[in-house]
């Protein structure tokens, strides 16, 4: 049997769609556990990246640590926090937020720092205050890259929320972790299929978003960063 037939058999059993801990509440939980850290990371990362890109301060630090966050094994970070601090919202929320900030911050920084100096001067020459220069000119021009950063962070957060099931977090990872624990491949495959579908939906969401909010002249093909 292939992965899809295992997964399909489990996902289509109606018993798995009813009651607490079944598929619908776990999908909602997964969206919440991914959406909340992403939102907090965006609220911190976008302004910080825009300020660094506009002023050029700390840009050396940002460029040199741009990919360092990828070196941190998230499973290790999660189990360390759980063993030392015990399971609490802080245990999973903190690492998700902290590791979702770098892709957002770095892409915002690169987008803002990469704005054509001519456009920058024109904004200043037109009498815009620094706040107006950043919010009305630089950030809109940087929007395609900011969205790439948000997408990278979203992918990361969805994946890490799945792993966080190991330390007891709810969400779709529950089916995988519990199934592995009980040597039952049905829920493992089904959970994995749902996670994959969720990840593809996240991609589609960002593709749609970039069509809606990015001006036609600025559109270009995104790629994994």
């Amino acid at each position: 049997m292939s992965f899809f037939s295992y997964a399909w058999d489990w996902v289509t059993q109606s018993a798995n769609w009813h009651g607490p801990g079944s598929i619908p509440p776990q999908i909602l939980a997964h969206l919440g556990y991914s959406g909340l850290p992403l939102l907090i990371a965006a609220v911190i990362g976008i302004p910080a990246g825009a300020v660094i890109g506009h002023t050029g301060r700390f840009s050396v630090v940002v460029v040199n640590t741009a990919n360092a966050w990828r070196a941190i094994p998230t499973l290790g970070l999660l189990v360390l926090l759980v063993v030392t601090l015990g399971f609490s919202p802080l245990t999973w929320l903190l690492p998700l937020v902290v590791l979702a900030i770098p892709p957002i911050l770095v892409n915002t920084y690169e987008g803002v720092a990469g704005v054509d100096p001519g456009i920058r001067d024109a904004a200043k020459g037109a009498g815009m205050t620094p706040w107006q220069q950043v919010t009305r000119v630089e950030v809109p021009i940087a929007l395609p890259l900011i969205l790439v950063g948000l997408r990278t962070a979203a992918i990361f957060v969805v994946a890490t929320a799945t792993i966080a099931a190991y330390i007891g977090l709810g969400g779709l990872g529950r089916f995988i972790v519990d199934g592995l624990d009980q040597y039952q491949f049905g829920p493992v495959a089904g959970g994995a299929l749902l996670v994959i579908m969720l990840a593809v939906l996240v991609l589609a969401f960002f593709a749609l978003l970039s069509r809606l909010v990015v001006p036609v002249a600025l559109r270009k093909q995104g790629r994994p960063e």
Binding site: P73, L75, L80, T162, I163, G191, A192
Partner: protein, 210 residues
């Protein structure tokens, strides 16, 4: 932190470090070997790139644990499973960089090589690829660091790596081994990253150092 745990478990630490290197370091290197022909083809035939890019973007979005699981029916709970998955992620990062690197070769350079009598293949190997090296290695660095860190997740499906100490440390509520594995994984990623920076400098002596 119980320092005495380290020397008394030295053999086990070394064993899992080797397992970790097999998964985390080998995969991006295989990924590079596959990415080069794929990227060259995608840079050469323009129609080929959009579908490749779409596949690569979707693949990259799949969480590692789900990808390991999806490969279980065909590859089992094995090293091969994890190496295939990490190689696929590496492709997603390296292929776009190969294409970007080759496309960034200035047209006058290409024409000069042609004028000097370089055929398409010789121009590719001796002019275009060397000029694309910094961008390609840039992709390899990201793939390497990611693979080394992702390899620890393989422990959740029972494939041994330094991730063993995460699971064991959690079950025994023993932070020491979690710290040790965290430090080793980050150090391994950092060391490989430095090696790749060195390789890039050796391969591109004409690039000004910053």
């Amino acid at each position: 932190m119980m320092w005495s745990w380290i020397p008394s478990n030295g053999a086990q630490i070394w064993q899992y470090t080797q397992d970790h290197i097999l998964l985390g370091v080998l995969s991006p290197l295989i990924g590079l070997a596959i990415s080069l022909p794929l990227g060259i083809a995608a840079a050469r035939w323009r129609w080929f790139y959009p579908p490749v890019l779409t596949i690569v973007n979707v693949l990259y979005a799949i969480p590692a644990l789900a990808l390991f699981v999806a490969l279980i029916p065909s590859l089992g709970l094995s090293d091969t499973n994890v190496i295939v998955a990490l190689t696929l992620y590496s492709l997603c990062i390296i292929v776009p960089n190969v294409v970007a690197g080759l496309r960034a070769v200035p047209e006058p350079v290409r024409q000069a090589a042609t004028a000097m009598g370089y055929g398409a293949l010789r121009r590719l190997v001796f002019v275009e690829l060397p000029l694309a090296v910094p961008v390609i290695i840039g992709g390899l660095r990201v793939a390497m660091v990611s693979s080394i860190s992702l390899a620890s997740i393989a422990q959740l499906i029972g494939v041994y790596s330094l991730g063993y100490f995460f699971i064991d440390g959690e079950q025994r509520a023993f932070p020491t081994e979690i710290y040790v594995a965290l430090v080793l994984i980050i150090a391994l990623a950092l060391a490989c990253d430095l090696v790749l920076v060195g390789v890039r400098r050796a391969l591109t002596p004409w690039v000004a150092r910053s």
